[in-house]
Symmetry: C2
Subunit: 191 residues, 2 copies
């Protein structure tokens, strides 16, 4: 998505450890117009996938997921992150390890909101090591629902999340795909 790549080049900052900081339009300050275009693009890319619901994880996934939901006309569910709970009878939960924060969290979704007939699209801001996506895939498996696609705003293709989704045989769409960081600059993958 050219407009997104241009924005990353203009406003993104490459930090040590292969971290791309895009907190001025995606995950702290948000550009709603860009999110709207992102949502429209996801709707276009998954228009034939029969999506009935969108799943994401709080907090940075919510804005692109809600815009995708608006363009696709389907509800959005954001999984909540929390410390491990003892009472989880009414919840689907999965463990997610955060590489940036170096902690294990649970994510959870209320069982009432997933239905065996659902075909879900997982949306997130970043795909790097794929931990959040893996957590949502685990929940989908427990809930016996079909994951028909994964849509991420930005993927770091050289980390293992990309392969993880491909190996699961799921349609993956990244609106910006980063092949590498070289000398503090972003190198996008060629389509």
């Amino acid at each position: 998505m050219k407009i997104l790549e241009d924005r990353i080049r203009r406003d993104g900052t490459v930090l040590a450890g292969n971290v791309l900081k895009v907190d001025n339009f995606l995950n702290h300050q948000i550009d709603p117009q860009l999110m709207d275009q992102i949502g429209a693009e996801f709707a276009h890319q998954f228009k034939d996938a029969g999506i009935t619901k969108i799943l994401t994880v709080e907090s940075s996934g919510i804005a692109p997921a809600v815009m995708a939901g608006l363009h696709m006309g389907v509800p959005v569910i954001f999984a909540r992150k929390h410390k491990s709970l003892t009472l989880t009878d009414n919840l689907y939960t999965a463990k997610v390890y955060s590489y940036t924060k170096r902690v294990n969290n649970d994510i959870s979704i209320d069982r009432r909101f997933l239905d065996k007939e659902d075909r879900v699209l997982i949306v997130d801001d970043f795909l790097a090591n794929g931990q959040a996506v893996q957590g949502l895939l685990d929940i989908a498996q427990t809930a016996q629902i079909k994951v028909a696609g994964v849509g991420v705003v930005i993927e770091k293709r050289f980390q293992k999340g990309h392969q993880l989704v491909e190996d699961a045989g799921i349609q993956l769409e990244a609106l910006a795909s980063i092949a590498a960081f070289e000398d503090g600059q972003v190198v996008f993958a060629q389509d």
Copy 2:
């Protein structure tokens, strides 16, 4: 906002302790179409307020805030919640007490995103005791920016948040205003 009141009557659940559960369209599962209408209504109500940015707090405030930002054509910043930090040089922070979780958290916004010329609109899903709004007001005061309005999807008018915003002399718009809960039913305030 009639469509919202109808939705609360239909899908909301009143729990013990004056808790209204609306997690099937607002703060766990999200109805993007309704959020779009909510965003349009905030844009209408604050059209003369000269808003340059919207502030909210993760996670439940993000969906209505981003839709308001889309309709108003302004960026949205969501404050992040976390345990108290030692290194906060580049952040505006404020303490927020959560009555539901009974914990103190800090919320923070990167200093780069607030500017003395800004006139901000605070958007949140609920206004009850007003702790999150107070935290954002504290940040705005430290940043020396003008808070030109507070827009909440649902207020519990009988709790102290409503008075807190009025006492600060700030325009307050609640799209659904709950006067009381009676026999497990929602009683809306008359305009």
